[in-house]
């Protein structure tokens, strides 16, 4: 995979292939986070496009001593927050009650996955962002802190609270079959 700095430099020169490469490299993560934060596939695609427009408009301001991924994810969270605030002012246009954006697995884990998704949708945006970036996208604490421009301690606190809220919902919904005492 091409290094980030040369790729960005080619993008800044207007290289079409570099632009496509950068979009392809990050669009799945950006879209995944948008879907989780917006709970709506079409909105997520629209915001994904907005995110990349913002990324390319601000690319010359990117600090090349830092990784590109958290910077893009930070823009993603900000765009999603803006979108959510705008959407809250026009709820009558579309029913946004958590459109199902994934196909259900065929096995008996469908119920568990649905409960997790519902629990995530009920989290506040900051908690949801941290949870998705850590558990679904595998970002370390430091990268999440850079993306959200918060101290690592704050990110840990948010993630722990998010987990407890999700676990509490799973517990209330009966997702607590006996699995033994030891966590391994």
């Amino acid at each position: 995979m091409e290094e980030e700095v040369p790729l960005v430099q080619r993008c800044l020169r207007g290289d079409g292939k570099a632009i496509t490469a950068l979009v392809e490299r990050f669009q799945t993560e950006v879209f995944g986070l948008c879907v989780r934060l917006l709970s709506h596939k079409q909105d997520a695609e629209d915001v994904t496009q907005e995110v990349f427009l913002r990324v390319f408009r601000s690319l010359h301001r990117w600090d090349s001593t830092r990784p590109l991924r958290p910077w893009i994810m930070g823009i993603t969270v900000n765009r999603c927050r803006t979108w959510l605030s705008q959407r809250a002012r026009r709820p009558e246009l579309v029913d946004y009650l958590h459109e199902i954006v994934i196909s259900r697995p065929a096995d008996d884990s469908a119920e568990l996955i649905r409960e997790i998704q519902t629990a995530l949708a009920d989290l506040r945006v900051e908690y949801r962002s941290v949870f998705v970036m850590f558990h679904e996208q595998g970002l370390p604490y430091e990268d999440i802190a850079a993306a959200l421009d918060r101290p690592v301690g704050t990110i840990k606190t948010w993630l722990h609270r998010a987990r407890l809220e999700v676990l509490e919902r799973l517990r209330q919904r009966g997702m607590i079959t006996e699995v033994g005492h030891e966590l391994s």
């Binding site: 079409g16 632009i19 496509t20 995944g32 010359h60 196909s103 697995p105 005492h181 030891e182």
Partner: protein
Amino acid sequence: MNCRECEQVLQAYLDGVRLPARPELAEHLDQCSPCRELHQAGQHLVSGLQKMPLLEPSLLLTERIVSAVRTQRRQRLQHRQRWLSLAAAVAALVLLPLSAVLLPRAPDRGTSEMAQSKPVLADLPQPSAAPSLNEQVEEARAAMTRLTNRLSEQARVLWEAAGPVELPPVDLLPDVADLEPPLHPAAESLQKARAGVSAGWQTVANSAQRAVSYFVREIPDLPN
């Protein structure tokens, strides 16, 4: 072990840290139903997250985004060029009057001709050889036109000399794929900027000339 320590173990487990088996944890979970249920839910959460399907955007999203990015780049370049032209025109409007007032009046061809013509007029036999008002207005009009053209030319030369400093940033250069192959992007951008600036200056010069002409036309003819 208390409930707080038990929760810390659970958070470490969800962080991906695998701790060795601890008898005190098992003992606490045997006695504390809320903590036991929380730990069981945690194991379900890890299991569910591993089975969460990958969220994929539609196949055309990449193409749609790239197209939007290209359009945005073109629009920003055009916008920047328009602002450069406007800035040049505004600068000209400010600098031209200032130059006319502050710069020392260099002896040019027009004034030298006037200076040379004075003795000739003085040598004429008629005592009423002083130039008429219409002639003076015509001379003023010609001088104003020459001055405007000269200042416009000087400003244009200065602008071209300072051109590379005002080049747009590299990221605003036109898309290579959208340009003709023989043209270098930097040369293309510079040409467009120069064309825009020249057009701006031409407009200012024309406006000044029209203003002088209008001023002259509005003065009624007077008898010589």
